[in-house]
Amino acid sequence: MNAVIEFDGVSKWYGNVIGLNKLTVRIAAGVTGLLGPNGAGKSTMLQLATGQLRPSQGEVRVLGHRTWNNAALMRHIGLCPEQDAFYEWMTGLGFVRTCARLTGMSLRKATAAAEKAIARVGMTDNMGRRIRGYSKGMRQRIKLAQALVHEPRVLLLDEPFTGTDPVARRDLSAVIRELGESGHSVVVSSHVLHEVETLTTNIVLVHRGRLVAEGQIQQIRDLIDRHPHRIILVSDDYRSLAAKLVCWDDVEGVNVLRDRQALLIETRTPDSFYARLPAIALETVTPIREVYSDDNNLEAVFKYLVGK
């Protein structure tokens, strides 16, 4: 598999603030999830990959070419930026067609390409309306259409699902999967693990401007499984529940969360723990009101991976 995007020892500083810290990563063809909590450096990576920013140190290459100030390379790159900004006075079609014309297409070709891209994101019925009247989901779709209109080989999507409703989310996911299947290289940035899981198994994890891990999502999960899982149990009778749970072999720790009338359980075998839980729930006089994992957010994953 060939690398499409390469970061070689890239650092990016914004004054005293560090955006990326000696990041070296190679992103191969296909769909790749770029994961990281807010402020991890995902958008900085994408802005470097599209030549909007210049690396303070190191080198960024896309399709074998340096990205900074490389206008010709932009024929092969499409970006769906995170910011919700448009030429609001334009219609959806007008906006996407303008983007197509800026890549050098004739008016006729640009119109055809814009209509095709808009159809692909399911916006044909609304393409004649002004963008300022669009819903958030429509705006995300049109933003994706402008990134697709010149049929780039590399497509970078910065938090494409932000603010979208479930229907738009499903449709956009389908479009992204199709693009991957049709040979495009797609990088989807997100801070929500399950969003990316629906698109690809190949992920890159960044945190505080550093590469934390890269590879298959299952490997990441395996890595996480080596650390104790934290499970919250909410019950009015949390004290007697705690007394029973400390006797269990697979429970490594029990913390009382008095304010929440809950227990924070740490276990390395969450599957076995969950299997035994219904039995203890029946034994206790006061029922367990709520059970949830404290590890379902990406921030927790990163805490594990960076050892904090």
């Binding site: 990563v25 802005q47 070419h65 206008a71 390379l73 499409g78 448009f86 014309r101």
Partner: protein
């Protein structure tokens, strides 16, 4: 950390070096559309109606004897060659050229331009050209319209050379706008409060400095504007703005100076634009 994905090289592509003229033309059209949209053009249009309105008020308020003593010549001088070039023309350039980059950055739409196969220097230059076209057209149109209005008001239509006079006025104002637009676009690129600084510049440099007979006034656009007015139009007999036309630069030199100044300012601006990063802040604040 896990092992990286299998990577053996990069899937390099050959990049086209053919200039993207269609893209640049599309950018010019987009920039022109941006210029004529919104409050800016409405405000400027209203401001440019001011000289005509003032002329009408002064004419109506003047005693009958004063009305008979060639008011058109005086009005032309006061409004066409003082008020418009001193205040309105540079203000039009400031508003049109000052926003070519700033507006796109503030509205976060610059990304859509930087993502296209358009050289950065060309993006700046084309947007500046659009600003110049609008500023020059606006100034020329309203100045000629004011000229016609004053002629109609005073009942002294200059039948001889009427079209030529209008075209000459338009040409002089357009030349001034070349320099003004280059200057104000660069100013906006260099500082945040470009509008305020621009107004201060207009008042102190183009207003005061250009009035005093010092060597420093050769640094102002107004100096060359006035010389061109004197050499090509001779608007009001006896008024020379303290120029000695025998030693002052020729009309050709004035034209060349304004064009070269505009060109150099545009090149400097485009070089700065090409080397500058425009970081788009994301909602998550990265």
């Amino acid at each position: 950390m896990m092992e990286p994905a299998t990577v053996v090289g990069h899937d390099a592509v050959r990049l086209s070096r053919i200039p993207n003229f269609r893209g640049l033309f599309a950018l010019l059209v987009l920039a022109l559309r941006q210029q004529v949209r919104g409050w800016r053009l409405i405000i400027l249009g209203l401001l440019f109606l001011l000289p005509g309105a003032l002329a009408a008020i002064v004419y109506e308020a003047a005693p009958a004897s004063a009305r008979r003593s060639s008011p058109a010549e005086v009005f032309d001088f006061v409004f066409l060659f003082m008020l418009i070039p001193h205040a309105l023309a540079p203000l039009a350039a400031l508003l049109c050229a000052g926003g070519i980059v700033r507006d796109e950055v503030e509205e976060q739409t610059l990304t859509y331009l930087l993502l296209r196969p358009l050289p950065r220097m060309a993006i700046y230059t084309v947007k500046l050209l659009a600003a110049l076209i609008i500023a020059a057209l606006l100034t020329s149109f309203f100045t000629v319209a004011t000229l016609v209005f004053i002629a109609w008001l005073s009942g002294e239509p200059p039948t001889v050379g009427y079209v030529a006079q209008g075209m000459t006025i338009a040409a002089i104002f357009s030349l001034a706008q070349v320099a003004y637009c280059g200057l104000f676009a660069l100013l906006a690129l260099l500082m945040r409060r470009a509008l305020l600084v621009g107004v201060i510049y207009i008042i102190f440099f183009e207003g005061l400095l250009a009035t005093f007979d010092t060597i420093a006034r050769r640094m102002t656009v107004m100096y060359y504007f006035r010389l061109l007015v004197l050499r090509w139009l001779n608007p009001a007999r006896g008024v020379t703005w303290e120029f000695n036309l025998k030693t002052a630069p020729t009309a050709a030199n004035c034209v060349l100076t304004l064009l070269v100044a505009g060109f150099v300012l545009a090149i400097v601006g485009s070089l700065i634009f090409a080397s500058r990063e425009f970081r788009m802040k994301t909602p998550e604040g990265e």
